[in-house]
């Protein structure tokens, strides 16, 4: 057996990895069942920072969303972007999209199409969100933005001058943003935003990043980076928190719209399981049957697949991690067996 393992062709390892990833994807894809998530403090901090953006300045928040990645890392990062945009849109923040990566504008476009156009069609381009596109120059772009944003970004991605875009009024430099939310795949990315924006101008910064980068950025949390999402696990945790928040918020708004007072709406929205029962009580008598059906659907209906991407990927992640652990153990069993036989490692 040991002999067989010693000479194991690596293609069998490749096949094992392929199965560990593809079978869970098939099963989760067909059943829709995902593993439950328990958010860690870092993901909670990320959510809280986005949630309170603008409160310190007492205004609708201006959030600079920098999507510094490309399709090569989208598997890890696009769930983060989708949830970030989802939270900002639900919270009513103004979103300013930029990218320091040449392919970044496509990532911005994907997020806009996937989240804003589909789930928030009421948001208006130029008033609620704007796509400023890509600029070459890495950290020097951040440096110039710190002094004069319009010197670097003269037009949006469609060539419209910034002076003609309503939400650009009053935005002259990085200091006019209440929060920088950044999703990063490497250089330029999280580190550059910490060095040249967050530390220098004392602007709150939250960042989602690839697994390779995450350990390198932990020392910045919480002083220079107020929230950190690392790899697909961070994405899944954040997705879980945002989905719960969005559902609660939608239910609360529906209740208020149907004449239920704010206090009761908040209490009900915080415990969604009781909504179906509550709609049968006298307290819900003022609601029409259609409104009740919509409310129950909002409270207990399925979450759109777009916002479960991260949680879905935790399935293949589990089995592939177990395979990795198994492979390391097997490799060491062979190593010690060889050593006992007096062979070279």
């Amino acid at each position: 057996m040991i002999k067989l393992l010693e000479n194991l062709d690596r293609r069998w390892i490749f096949l094992a990895m392929a199965l560990c990833v593809s079978v869970p994807i098939l099963v989760i894809g067909l059943t829709g069942v995902t593993f439950p998530e328990t958010p860690t403090p870092l993901a909670e901090a990320f959510f809280a920072e986005v949630d309170r953006a603008g409160e310190a300045n007492g205004r609708q928040a201006n959030v600079l969303i920098a999507l510094d990645y490309d399709p090569a890392s989208a598997g890890e990062l696009s769930p983060m972007s989708a949830s970030l945009v989802n939270q900002c849109a639900q919270r009513g923040h103004r979103m300013y999209f930029i990218s320091l990566w040449p392919v970044g504008p496509q990532m911005i476009d994907d997020s806009i199409q996937k989240v804003i156009k589909r789930f928030y069609p009421e948001l208006v381009y130029g008033k609620d969100y704007v796509n400023l596109g890509f600029k070459a120059g890495s950290e020097q772009v951040i440096k110039v933005m710190g002094v004069d944003l319009t010197a670097e970004f003269r037009t949006d991605v469609e060539g419209t001058m910034l002076s003609e875009i309503p939400m650009m009024e009053g935005i002259t430099s990085l200091e006019d943003f209440d929060l920088i939310a950044e999703i990063s795949a490497g250089y330029p990315g999280s580190k550059e935003w910490v060095l040249y924006a967050a530390t220098q101008y004392d602007i709150p910064l939250v960042s989602g990043m690839t697994g390779v980068q995450a350990p390198q950025n932990y020392p910045y949390y919480p002083t220079q980076m107020q929230g950190l999402l690392g790899a697909i696990k961070g994405a899944a945790e954040y997705e879980f928190i945002v989905n719960a928040y969005v559902r609660e918020n939608i239910v609360r708004k529906m209740l208020v719209k149907n004449g239920i007072d704010d206090e009761t709406s908040r209490t009900l929205a915080s415990d969604l399981d009781q909504i179906p029962t509550w709609t049968t009580t006298a307290a819900a008598a003022s609601m029409t049957p259609q409104a009740k059906a919509d409310l129950i659907d909002a409270a207990t209906g399925a979450t759109p697949g777009e916002f479960l991407e991260g949680q879905r990927r935790m399935g293949p992640q589990l089995f592939a991690h177990l395979l990795m652990v198994l492979l390391i153990i097997l490799g060491n069993v062979i190593f010690f067996a060889q050593r006992r036989r007096g062979g070279s490692a």
Binding site: L8, I28, T155, M161, Y196, Q200, V212, P215, P219
Partner: protein
């Protein structure tokens, strides 16, 4: 990447691999003919019709202005019929729609949604490229080499195009050639008073430096690229020196000078309060010890002997834990990327799964058969 393998394959192993490939091919073939098939893209045409509205100048002498007005298709036809000489511009944009919408339209007896050949071919090409790259896992082959060459060529072209349209046009040409840019490239820009802002002449500097940089490609003019290179290196050195000192030395040092006693946050009982206080304080102590020990390890001016040597050894332990954590996170990242590609093959191409509810239940059920 190397194509070497540990051992040559036996004929039995080759047979197993052949079976694996055959099973995949059979699934694809069967899937193509069952239900609604697979790998198709549907689009909804969106006509864009514009008519020119000419407004004469108030004085009657200066040139008249032309404004373009977009009209809905029905109004457009009526407008053109009523104003035969009007200048018009029309094109059709296509919005991708989920296959579910097309199936519903077919059931209802027709509609505007159509099958898109260019996007469907593109989707199959994307699947081919994905499998071509994966084929390297078996061994190096012409499909992989072809795909690799394509990615190199397309990437270089892509970056050049984006650099030109997103940076050179708005940040250089708009400043140095405002009238030309407004006329042909970016009509939305505002012309400076008098047609040209003299301050923008300063942007001749990056233009000249940029052209000197490109001179690196010419054998006899290679030295010219040293000037822009010197500028690039100088600005980066100046920028980084200050920022790294401020962020990574001063703030990080400050973050290490922290209280070693931290009151616990669990006040459910005295025991838990004491316990969480111990854990929180221990975390702070271990953090400070770790940073100092690692810094001692990096300090090579003193021989690592005695107390210094022991401290440095503790530093190595910390670094090993750091590298272990980095390895764990790296693995996590790589697997997520693989999962995304497999999802593309199963969802967009083979229609085996449908997490975004793009198709309909019957199609998903057909997927279940496999």
């Amino acid at each position: 990447m190397s194509s070497s393998v540990s051992e040559p394959m036996t004929s039995a192993q080759r047979a197993i691999w052949a079976i694996v490939c055959l099973v995949i091919v059979l699934i694809v073939v069967a899937r193509s003919f069952v239900g609604h098939g697979m790998g198709r893209v549907y689009v909804e045409p969106k006509p864009m019709d514009f008519v020119a509205e000419v407004s004469e100048s108030a004085d009657g002498e200066s040139a008249s202005t032309v404004d373009w007005k977009q009209l809905p298709p029905t109004e457009f036809a009526a407008y053109v019929a009523a104003n035969p000489g009007t200048e018009t511009i029309s094109w059709v944009e296509y919005d991708q729609v989920p296959p579910r919408s097309y199936f519903a339209q077919e059931t209802a007896g027709g509609g505007p949604i159509v099958f898109s050949w260019p996007r469907t071919i593109g989707l199959w090409l994307a699947a081919f490229f994905t499998l071509a790259i994966f084929s390297f896992l078996y061994r190096d082959n012409p499909f992989y080499k072809f795909a690799e060459s394509v990615v190199v060529g397309v990437s270089a072209g892509y970056w050049m195009v984006v650099g030109f349209w997103d940076t050179i046009v708005p940040n250089l040409l708009q400043r140095l050639l405002p009238a030309f840019s407004k006329e042909y490239l970016t009509p939305g820009m505002e012309l400076p008073a008098g047609g040209f802002d003299m301050v923008n002449l300063v942007f001749l500097i990056p233009l000249v430096l940029g052209l000197m940089l490109v001179c690196r490609l010419l054998p006899k003019c290679g030295w010219m690229s040293l000037w822009p290179l010197a500028f690039i290196v100088g600005t980066m050195a100046g920028l980084r020196m200050v920022s790294y000192i401020e962020s990574d030395i001063l703030v990080q040092t400050k973050e290490t000078v922290i209280p070693l006693y931290v009151q616990g946050d669990n006040t459910s009982s005295t025991f838990m309060l004491v316990w969480t206080t111990i854990w929180s304080s221990l975390a702070q102590i271990l953090l400070v010890i770790g940073v100092l020990a690692c810094l001692v390890y990096f300090f090579f001016s003193v021989e690592h002997k005695g107390a210094v040597g022991k401290t440095a050894r503790v530093g190595i332990w910390y670094l090993m834990i750091t590298f272990g954590a980095a390895f764990g996170f790296t693995v996590m990242g790589r697997i997520a990327l693989l999962a995304a590609r497999v999802e593309f093959l199963f969802d967009d191409w083979m229609w085996l799964i449908d997490p975004m509810q793009q198709r309909e239940f019957i199609t998903a059920s057909v997927g279940l058969l496999f």
